[in-house]
């Protein structure tokens, strides 16, 4: 019995270390890929329009803000934050506070909710969470 337990503990520790390294290298690989992608295309990420901006922008492209309300479900969820649109559909299942809190703001401006975590007193999201959000930038 003792030997079996020791064996399981050893296996678990090795599994943990292996997985931790795998996640680290996958994240680094993704980071490098993103950097390379930007250098190749040489297209800077332009700031999107503010929430109160007209649906037709100066450049002539159609603002996605007019479509925001249509993306209001778990399978198709957009939110507005600080004048930008984010498609957070693929983030469902990963939010530490649960899916319910995100679902509430699908198709809406979630700026205040994101900055306060819907709490009183406000509890702002970390810098890491903000940089994560940038991965889902649509406009």
């Amino acid at each position: 019995m003792k030997r079996f337990i020791t064996f399981i503990i050893r296996l678990s520790i090795l599994n943990f270390i292996f997985y931790m390294l795998a996640v680290f290298f996958v994240a680094k690989y993704n980071e490098i890929s993103v950097k390379r992608g930007i250098q190749k295309e040489d297209i800077p990420v332009s700031p999107g329009p503010t929430f109160s901006s007209p649906t037709k922008q100066a450049s002539g492209s159609v603002s996605l803000f007019s479509q925001l309300q249509n993306h209001n479900s778990r399978s198709d969820c957009w939110i507005a934050y600080s004048g930008h649109i984010y498609d957070i559909t693929s983030f469902f299942g990963s939010h530490p506070g649960g899916d319910g809190i995100m679902l509430k703001y699908c198709g809406q401006d979630a700026t205040a909710a994101f900055d306060t975590k819907d709490k009183f007193p406000p509890s702002p999201h970390s810098e890491n969470a903000k940089s994560l959000l940038q991965q889902y930038l649509v406009q």
């Binding site: 019995m1 003792k2 337990i5 020791t6 399981i8 503990i9 050893r10 678990s12 520790i13 599994n15 943990f16 997985y19 931790m20 996640v23 680290f24 996958v26 994240a27 993704n30 693929s90 983030f91 299942g93 990963s94 530490p96 506070g97 649960g98 899916d99 319910g100 975590k117 970390s126 810098e127 890491n128 969470a129 940089s131 994560l132 991965q135």
Partner: protein, 203 residues
Amino acid sequence: MKKFAGLLIVIFLCFNTINLWIAAKPTLNIIWESPLRSVSQILALLGIVLTSFVLVLSTKFKWLDKTFGGRGNVFEVHHITGSAAFIFLLNHPLLLAVAALPQSKLALTYFFPSSNAAYNFGIFGLYLMILSFICMVFMRLPFKTWRLAHKLLAPAFLLGGIHALLANSDISSFFPLRIWIGFFIVIGVFSGAYSLFWKQKSV
């Protein structure tokens, strides 16, 4: 009957913890929507409760010997339950990372320190626990060094307890679960402190 006291206590603790965790969910659908996250949560809660129980056993109070039918039985329950609790806690961030894997940056926050202080307590606690187990399981150490490595588990539990109370989770949102887990964290921390500082002096 006394031989099975440990098993009965462990079953009772697990049953109560799982019940409270289910009660903390607004709907049962949430559990099935992200199964990996759910398993990870329940493993963390069980890990905390069982580690606290193990720390109580490590105090070597005489009433424990009477309850479990001898020091040998106490040691056996301590050994098996402690190992199970460690494996549960080890798999907690692992499953969260698997659930978050398309977002590799998020997955990293479960393994490496970030700007989230609540997570950092858990990460440091877990690493301290792993370090302790690596010393105990992978190395052949003299007994004094082995015991020193074993003692690292008490501060690791303290860090894990702080993480559990600070992190945004079912514990923070559901009062009965917070009381239940908080109780075990306090009991575990006091038992650990007793084993570390007072027990040695009194023996």
